[in-house]
C-alpha cells in the first residue's frame, strides 16, 4: 500500500504511527501478546489526531481540502453508483477532463452527476489541469444539466477546484461568459440540484456548477471568494500573509453556515476524509438522499421559487431607518 501522504501539522503523529507499525511487525514474527500495548498506542494516536483536527486553522483546513488522497468526484461516483455512464463533450469543440459528468443510479434513482476532477499525482493532475475547468468544461456541465432537465434527472454536483482556469485560450473562449450563463441557467432548471463542496471551492470556478437548492460542505472543505494567496497579495501586498487572509475570509463550513451560504456541514473522521474515504462516501450519500427526498416532494414551481429565494436572501445590508425610496411602489 502506498505510504500515506502526511501534512505538515500531522508530523507529531508520525512517531506514534511508526511505533505502532514496529509493534505490529514484532507481533507478527513472535508469539508475544502485544494487543494491550497496541490498543493503548492506537487510542493515543486517535486522541492526538482528534485533538489536531478539532483545532485546525483555516489555512490548515485548506491543506486538508487539497490533500492528494482526499476522495474526488469520480471516487464518490464509484462509491455511490452501481450503474454509471460517463458522458463527454461540450458539443462546441472540447471535452474538458477537469470537469467530468455522466448519468448514474444512486439508491433507486437515476441522477446526473457532475464535478470538478483533480488528479492524485503530477501526471494525472496535468491531464486534469489540476481541477481547473476551461470554458468548455462549464459548457459541457450546462449541456449535461440541460439534458437532466429534459429527462427529469436530479443533479448532483461536486465542487473541488482551485478556481476556473486562467489562461489565454480560456479568455479567448469566454471563461466569464461560460460561468455567467451557468449561473443564470441553473436558476431555470426544473429538477433538484444538490451541490457539495468535497474539497476546495475556488471562487467563480466553483459557483459555475454551484447554484443549487442545497449546498453541502464537508467539515474540512473550504469555499472562498478568492484564493487566500491572491487575496493576501492584493490586500496585504504580501503573498506570505495567505494564512491571515484564509482566516479573515471566513472560508470554513461553520463560518459559511452562519453566513447563510451553506445548508449543512458534513462531519469528517479525525484525519480527514482521506483517512476513511468509504466513511466519507456513506456520510455524503446519506445526506444527499435525505435532501433529495425533501426536494422531490416539491412541485417544479415551488422548487424554483425556493431556489430563487435562497440566493435572494444572501448578503448583509443596512436598510435606512428613514423613509424608503419607493422601490416596490
Amino acid at each position: 500500500m502506498a505510504r500515506r501522504y502526511l501534512l505538515e501539522f500531522e508530523k507529531p503523529l508520525v512517531e506514534l504511527e511508526q511505533q505502532i507499525e514496529q509493534i505490529r511487525e514484532l507481533a507478527r514474527d513472535s508469539e508475544v501478546d502485544v494487543s494491550q500495548q497496541l490498543l493503548q498506542l492506537e487510542t493515543l494516536a486517535t486522541r492526538r489526531r482528534e485533538e489536531i483536527f478539532q483545532a485546525l486553522t483555516p489555512a490548515q483546513k485548506i491543506q486538508v481540502a487539497r490533500h492528494p488522497q482526499r476522495p474526488s468526484t469520480l471516487d464518490y461516483i464509484q462509491m455511490f453508483c452501481d450503474e454509471w455512464v460517463e458522458l463527454h463533450g461540450d458539443r462546441c469543440s472540447s471535452d474538458d477532463q477537469a470537469l467530468v459528468g455522466g448519468i448514474g443510479r444512486i439508491g433507486d434513482r437515476a441522477v446526473l452527476l457532475i464535478g470538478h476532477q483533480k488528479g492524485r499525482d503530477t501526471k494525472e493532475n496535468v491531464a486534469r489541469n489540476f481541477g481547473m475547468a476551461t470554458p468548455g468544461g462549464y459548457r459541457k456541465a450546462m449541456r449535461l444539466m440541460d439534458h437532466a432537465d429534459r429527462f427529469k434527472l436530479p443533479i448532483l454536483s461536486f465542487i473541488d477546484t482551485p478556481g476556473a482556469y486562467a489562461g489565454l485560450l480560456a479568455e479567448e473562449q469566454g471563461q466569464g461568459e461560460a460561468i455567467a450563463v451557468n449561473l443564470r441557467e441553473m436558476f431555470r432548471l426544473r429538477v433538484p440540484v444538490i451541490a457539495t463542496v468535497i474539497g476546495e471551492g475556488g471562487s467563480g470556478g466553483a459557483l459555475g456548477i454551484g447554484v443549487a437548492d442545497r449546498l453541502l460542505m464537508f467539515e474540512h472543505s473550504v469555499y472562498t471568494v478568492a484564493s487566500p494567496e491572491a487575496c493576501a497579495s492584493i490586500l496585504w501586498r504580501d503573498a506570505a500573509k495567505a494564512p491571515e487572509a484564509a482566516a479573515a475570509l471566513k472560508i470554513t463550513g461553520p463560518d459559511l453556515l452562519s453566513l447563510g451560504v451553506v445548508d449543512e456541514v458534513l462531519p469528517e473522521p479525525a484525519g480527514g476524509n482521506n483517512w476513511a474515504p468509504l466513511q466519507a462516501g456513506d456520510v455524503l450519500k446519506e445526506a444527499i438522499e435525505r435532501h433529495l427526498d425533501e426536494l422531490l416532494s416539491l412541485s417544479t414551481e415551488q422548487l424554483r421559487e425556493a431556489r430563487y429565494r435562497k440566493f435572494r436572501a444572501m448578503g448583509r445590508v443596512l436598510e435606512p431607518s428613514t423613509s424608503e425610496s419607493g422601490l416596490t411602489a
Binding site: G167, L183, V317
Partner: protein, 293 residues
Amino acid sequence: MSLFDWFADRRKGQFVGKVSQESDESDGLWGKCPECSQVVYRKDLLANASVCSNCGHHQRIDSKERIDLIVDPGSFKSFDRDLSPTDPLGFKDRRAYADRLRESQASTGLKDGVVTGTCCVEEMPLALAVMDFRFMGGSMGSVVGEKITRLVEHATTNQLPLLIVCASGGARMQEGMLSLMQMAKISGALERHREAELLYIPLLTHPTTGGVTASFAMLGDLILAEPKALIGFAGRRVIEQTLREKLPDNFQTAEYLQDHGFVDKIVPRTQLRSTLASLLRLHGSQPIKAAGG
C-alpha cells in the same frame, strides 16, 4: 527630422510642461490626457463626454457624469440611495474594511459602489444601474448585489428594459463568500427578466473584470462596450504567470472581445445615448407620452 520639426516639438513640449504645472495650481481648469498627453480645457473635455478630442481616449467617469450622459435631463429617479454596507466578516487586512468604507463614502458621497434607478432615454423608460469605480474599485459586495437585484426585479415587474453600466474589479473580498453569492443572486434575477422577454443590455466600461464579467456583464441580450475598455475574467498578471509568455498587446480589450465574439458592438461614448435610444426603439420601446396617451 528637420530642424523645423525639432523646434516645433520642443515648443510643444515646453508648452505642455508649463500648462500642466499651472493646472495643478488652478484647481483642475486644465487637464492632460493620460494617453496622448494633450492638454485640454476641462470644460471642453466634459462637453465631449470626457473623451480626448485628440486621440479619442475615454477617460474614466463617475456614476453621476455617466447618468447625465445617458438620461433625459431630470428624468433619473434613484432607488435605495441609502442602502449601506455592513462589515459582516469584521474584515481587516492592512486596514480595516470599516475604515476603507468610510473613506470611500466620504470621497464619493455614495453609500456603496452602484447607483440604480429609472430614467428616460429620448422619452423611453429604462431601468439603469451604474457602477462607480471610485468606490473601492467598483467591487461588488452585498449592497451592490442587492441594489442591482432590486432594480432587475423592478424592471421585470414593470416591464422595463435594463441597462447596467459595468466598471468593476470583481467581487469584494472584504465581504468574503457573500460577495461571490451576489453573482448568483443577480444572475437569478436576470433569468426572470429574460423569461419575461425583456431587453437587457450591459455596457462594459474600463475595467470590467472578475466576478462581474463572470455574471451580469456577460448575460446581456446585447453586449456593448466602450473603446479600449479592459474586459476579462482573470487578471493579466495571473495569466502571464501561468503561461510564462507574453500576451498580445490588445489582450482583453473591448476590441479583442469583439473579435472573439463576446461583444456585440463597441460604442464610442459620444454616441452612447443615440445608440441606446436606437436599440430601445428597435426593440419596441415607445416614448412614454405617446404610449401613456
